[in-house]
């Protein structure tokens, strides 16, 4: 570990490659992004590398960065606040963005992401991650109150996230109740009124489109 310069050391890179589903390019890309963001506290999407096509360009972009005080070691422990993550173009339009950040954050207050948290996020949403891992994290994202099961409140929040943020776009109370009744009827196999992880994964395994839609392309 360590090694100065704005690029990750080889060992660290190899380790990340071993422990996540990301390729080398993607890890470098993510690193660039992280290095960039503290320099631009506004988190403008213009500065974000993900809007620039081609991986080569990103890497060069990274190398051009001023190296002043920022070594890799330091950058790994920098935490990026939630707002900056949320302004990432890949997440901007996602109604689950807050939940995603909270689930992947390892800080005590759950309000910031380190580089490794970010890598975790990208790994789960990558092309090659196993369906099992994806459905596990999908469950945690949908579990709004973090109690380990999806109860009726979680489901209604989830449906509200899906149908849109406005008051007028939401389903009516009776529709919502019927929908949640139907969902529980279909997926709550042990009839305890909530959907636990295995039941959730059972539903997910029946949908062939899940793996392709639960994906964020960096």
């Amino acid at each position: 570990m360590g090694g100065s310069g704005s690029r990750l050391s080889k060992e660290l890179l190899a380790e990340y490659q071993d422990l996540t589903f990301l390729t080398k390019q993607e890890i470098l890309l993510a690193n660039c992004w992280l290095l960039l963001h503290p320099l631009h506290p506004s988190g403008s999407s213009r500065a974000s590398p993900s809007t620039v096509p081609g991986t080569q360009a990103h890497r060069r972009f990274c190398e051009l960065l001023p190296q002043e005080h920022r070594s890799t070691e330091e950058s790994l422990h920098t935490r990026v606040s939630l707002e900056q993550i949320l302004s990432l173009p890949e997440l901007k339009a996602n109604p689950f963005k807050e939940r995603i950040c909270r689930v992947f954050s390892t800080s005590p207050a759950r309000d910031s992401l380190s580089f490794e948290d970010f890598l975790d996020l990208l790994s789960v949403f990558s092309d090659t991650a196993t369906p099992d891992l994806k459905s596990h994290y999908a469950f945690r994202i949908f579990d709004f109150d973090d109690d380990g099961t999806l109860n009726r409140e979680d489901l209604s929040q989830l449906v509200n996230c899906l149908t849109g943020p406005g008051e007028d776009t939401q389903l009516s109370a009776s529709e919502m109740k019927q929908l949640i009744d139907n969902i529980l009827e279909e997926s709550d196999i042990d009839r305890d009124g909530t959907i636990n992880l295995s039941e959730f994964q059972h539903v997910i395994s029946r949908s062939p489109d899940f793996a392709s839609s639960f994906k964020i392309v960096l």
């Binding site: 996540t20 489901l155 139907n182 009839r191 009124g193 909530t194 489109d209």
Partner: protein
């Protein structure tokens, strides 16, 4: 009256053991009201309940004897549970797995154990007893102490150590833990591995063997990762696809992915042709044909004729002799001998085998990708649970644009509302009259569509006959374009008619609507292509006796393909761009036209069919198709970005791509293969051009070769034998098809079996659910009892502690705890009997007097 004392003394020592406690009172009469209280409050009263009512109540309150019956508490009553019960419920393993790290670790521990067992590595001896999976693991969550998690962790680390490096890496990768966690697990499992490895090494015969193997595995792993990264970098259009996915979601993306698949198929077809046929022939060009070479006018790019006729582009250019590099034609014009040094390159054979081989490879790839796609999209039981799947799986996280995201919100909302309405609709019966009308409309629309198809077919047939009767010379290039233009016009116009007709009928599900539209368009295209094939092989071959009919067919297919491309461009221009302008400017509509995925994919399939049909007559047709597809990608992408929006209907992307790849396989590829087989086996090749000009059929080239091999000597005598028994004999064909049928049958049975198992497992899970509810209720009642008894005991204790230590002196002692603790609204009467409190508090002479 002496008993109360031991009771008071006993309380702090054995608080749990209240069953055996002596009764605090010796009166035989306990108030009936207390029994009512118990009945009201407790969900199930077990036999070994509070002894308060045991005393002598057998006769007084017989109603309580039937208390063994269970009342299943529904989930709605969960609020009635006490906090302690809820705490236990919340810490059940099935609920913690989605949340707590300890539960995840133990789950993955179990998986690792399973994995290791499957690998059947025998080193369980070194691992302690505790490492074996046991029920004990499941109650760990009851006490969420850090110690327990540590223990589980160490178990997991031990298990990880006994896996191979690759397996460990794979396992760690897939764990839903944070990166730091994974790293420390890996470090631990690596550092601790050293010792057992050494021990094992000393025991083994070759100590360095394991190390060597591990190094090799690691190196291979690294190499694989490197290759993967390389491939990833090579992925063409990655960024473009990302943008499309981000703006339009998976449904539109599936069109572009299909286009990419077709590109791969064409490359696969083109490469062997380039290597073994085109390249070789280009290196050894045949003697130039007599006559002037026509000038290049530019129209050739459309017609494929003129200058292009005598090039490697078409069948006619290829020679029927053997190409032999060292053989220089003798000055006296004599041929060089067949037995000159070096292998003779037999062009007809190469032509036949390369086309056949390329087709075979394509077939294998196609069938493989079809089966893969089926495996992806077909899940046992995927038809049930549509609400849950819609809610859980419908958000496309690829979408990055706010507008697209809003559209997706709208689509999902509409879809959910439709689903809910559908559920209600299904319950309500539909009137007979309405159904009859629907059936009539459906039948009428189908009849009209078939009539249109028939009309198109007749038109193409009549026009092709007309073309034969008034032959045009090769010089009048423009006239040659007449038939392809007609075909393309029909192909372009008919789908719009179909779409108009489809607006009349009302289908229940949007998916069915798409399928019907696909079906109609497909019938039209296939029928037209069938007529054209008949026209070429049945009529043209006869009409072009003295000319090279293969070249003509190749050129026709080239023309069809180029014009198809042009018409797609026109369609894109007018159907998308102009329509958008009209609807924006004139109709003042906000919405852009929808991108018609099904129609566009059918266009692609049609183009691919043309390529496959023509590859025998124009070996470079796949190259043309590749160029066409690349252009199409950019044009469609630009038009999509500027003019279109994602379809409003829910689109089952994986289902549809399976359907499309099956369509590509079944009518398209199979039809082309039948056409080519007929051309190879049955039709006499023209005698003036091409590699097969001296033969009766193209297939004869193979026969001639086999005969020559038979003469050549015993060294290759197995080949004619193979030919005789495997190719000419029909038995192997039957055998192979029988085997295929058997495999299909077996697979069907396996799926059936899986369904049965799923049903059984579901039943089992619902049984377990009932068990769980039963246990929860039991637990709840136990807690209730404990609470109540503790409360009462506290009451009694405090009462007793305020008493003069020897015995009850004051008759007016009254304690009331109902207001502090609603669970125990009891009165302790002066005689230490218990009485239920009714609100408001009855006016006893002195509330509390101590």
């Amino acid at each position: 009256m002496a008993q109360p004392l031991p009771f008071v003394l006993n309380v702090p020592e054995i608080p749990e053991d209240h069953d055996r406690e002596p009764s605090p009172y010796d009166e035989s009469e306990v108030h009936d009201s207390f029994h009512q209280l118990i009945q009201e409050q407790s969900q199930c009263v077990a036999e070994e309940g509070l002894e308060l009512r045991q005393r002598g109540l057998g006769a007084a309150a017989p109603g309580t004897s039937g208390s063994g019956r269970q009342a299943l508490v529904g989930p709605e009553d969960a609020a009635a549970y006490s906090t302690a019960t809820l705490r236990i419920l919340a810490s059940m393993p099935s609920r913690t797995i989605g949340r707590s790290r300890g539960a995840i670790i133990s789950q993955y521990y179990n998986r690792t154990v399973r994995l290791r067992r499957r690998v059947s590595r025998p080193q369980l001896g070194g691992v302690g007893r505790s490492a074996r999976p046991s029920l004990r693991l499941y109650d760990l969550e009851l006490d969420p102490a850090a110690l327990e998690e540590e223990e589980k962790r160490s178990l997991l680390v031990k298990e990880l150590q006994s896996l191979t490096v690759a397996q460990r890496g794979h396992m760690l990768k897939g764990m839903p833990l944070g990166l730091a966690e994974k790293r420390s697990l890996r470090e631990e499992s690596r550092t601790l591995t050293g010792k057992p490895r050494e021990r094992r090494g000393r025991r083994g015969l070759f100590p360095c063997c394991g190390w060597l193997r591990d190094t090799c595995v690691l190196a291979l792993h690294g190499l694989g990762l490197w290759l993967l990264a390389g491939l990833h970098g090579l992925k063409p259009w990655r960024y473009a696809l990302k943008r499309i996915g981000g703006q339009f979601g998976s449904s539109v993306l599936s069109y572009f992915l299909f286009l990419k698949t077709l590109l791969a198929f064409n490359a696969l077809l083109l490469l062997p042709l380039l290597a073994f046929v085109v390249g070789v022939q280009a290196a050894f060009p045949p003697p130039a044909s007599p006559g002037p070479v026509p000038a290049f006018t530019g129209l050739e790019l459309l017609t494929g004729g003129g200058r292009l006729t005598h090039t490697v582009m078409y069948y006619g250019y290829y020679s029927n002799s053997t190409l032999n590099p060292p053989c220089v034609p003798a000055p006296d014009g004599g041929q060089c001998g067949r037995e000159t040094d070096g292998l003779p390159y037999n062009m007809p054979l190469a032509y036949l085998f390369t086309v056949g081989g390329a087709f075979f490879i394509t077939c294998i790839t196609l069938v493989y990708s079809m089966s893969h796609s089926f495996g992806e999209s077909y899940r046992v039981g995927s038809t049930s649970g549509v609400h849950a799947i819609t809610v859980f799986c419908s958000w496309d996280h690829k979408v990055t644009q706010r507008r697209a995201s809003r559209l997706q919100h709208d689509n999902i909302r509409t879809h959910l509302k439709e689903l809910l309405a559908e559920g209600q609709l299904r319950q309500g019966p539909r009137s007979v009259c309405g159904r009859l009308r629907q059936v009539a409309v459906l039948g009428l629309v189908w009849l009209l569509c078939l009539a249109i198809t028939l009309g198109c077919t007749v038109a193409v047939y009549a026009f092709s006959e007309l073309m034969i009767q008034s032959p045009v010379s090769a010089e009048q290039g423009g006239a040659l374009l007449a038939l392809p233009v007609v075909v393309c016009l029909l192909n372009l116009g008919a789908p719009y008619l179909y779409r108009g007709l489809a607006a009349l009928e009302r289908h229940d599900s949007p998916v069915l609507q798409v399928y019907v539209a696909v079906c109609r368009n497909l019938i039209l295209k296939m029928v037209i292509l069938g007529i054209l094939c008949y026209h070429w092989l049945g009529r043209r071959v006869g009409a072009l006796r003295d000319q090279c009919w293969e070249n003509f067919v190749g050129q026709e297919l080239y023309r069809l393909m180029v014009l198809d491309f042009i018409f797609i461009l026109l369609d894109t221009l007018f159907g998308e761009l102009v329509w958008r302008l009209i609807s924006e400017r004139k109709l003042k509509r906000k919405e852009k036209p929808e991108f018609d995925i099904a129609g566009n994919v059918l266009e692609l399939i049609y183009g691919q069919t043309l390529t496959w049909l023509g590859v025998l007559f124009a070996p470079l047709l796949p190259a043309v198709q590749i160029i066409k597809l690349v252009f199409l990608f950019y044009i469609k992408k630009t038009s999509l970005m500027a003019n279109c929006q994602a379809p409003r209907r829910p689109w089952l992307a994986s289902h549809m791509s399976t359907v499309f790849i099956s369509l590509l396989c079944f009518p398209s590829f199979l039809g082309a293969a039948v056409f080519l087989c007929y051309a190879v086996w049955q039709v006499k090749p023209s005698s003036t051009c091409g590699p097969f000009r001296t033969l009766d059929t193209m297939y004869e080239a193979g026969k001639v070769w086999v005969r020559r091999l038979e003469k050549a000597g015993p060294r290759v005598s197995w080949l004619p034998w193979v030919h005789r028994y495997l190719v000419e004999n029909t038995f192997p064909v039957y055998l192979v098809s029988a085997l295929l049928l058997a495999v299909i049958y077996l697979n069907i049975q396996v799926v059936k079996g899986q369904r049965k198992v799923i049903c059984l497992l579901r039943e089992q899970i619902s049984n377990e659910g009932e068990d769980k509810i039963f246990l929860i209720n039991k637990l709840h009642s136990v807690y209730e009892k404990k609470e109540r008894s503790r409360c009462c005991r506290d009451v009694l204790k405090s009462a007793a502690s305020h008493l003069p230590s020897s015995r009850f002196q004051t008759p007016s002692l009254l304690l009331y705890c109902g207001h502090q603790d609603p669970r125990c609204p009891l009165l302790v009467t002066p005689d230490l009997g218990l009485r239920r409190v009714t609100h408001p508090v009855p006016s006893f002479p002195q509330p509390v007097k101590i």
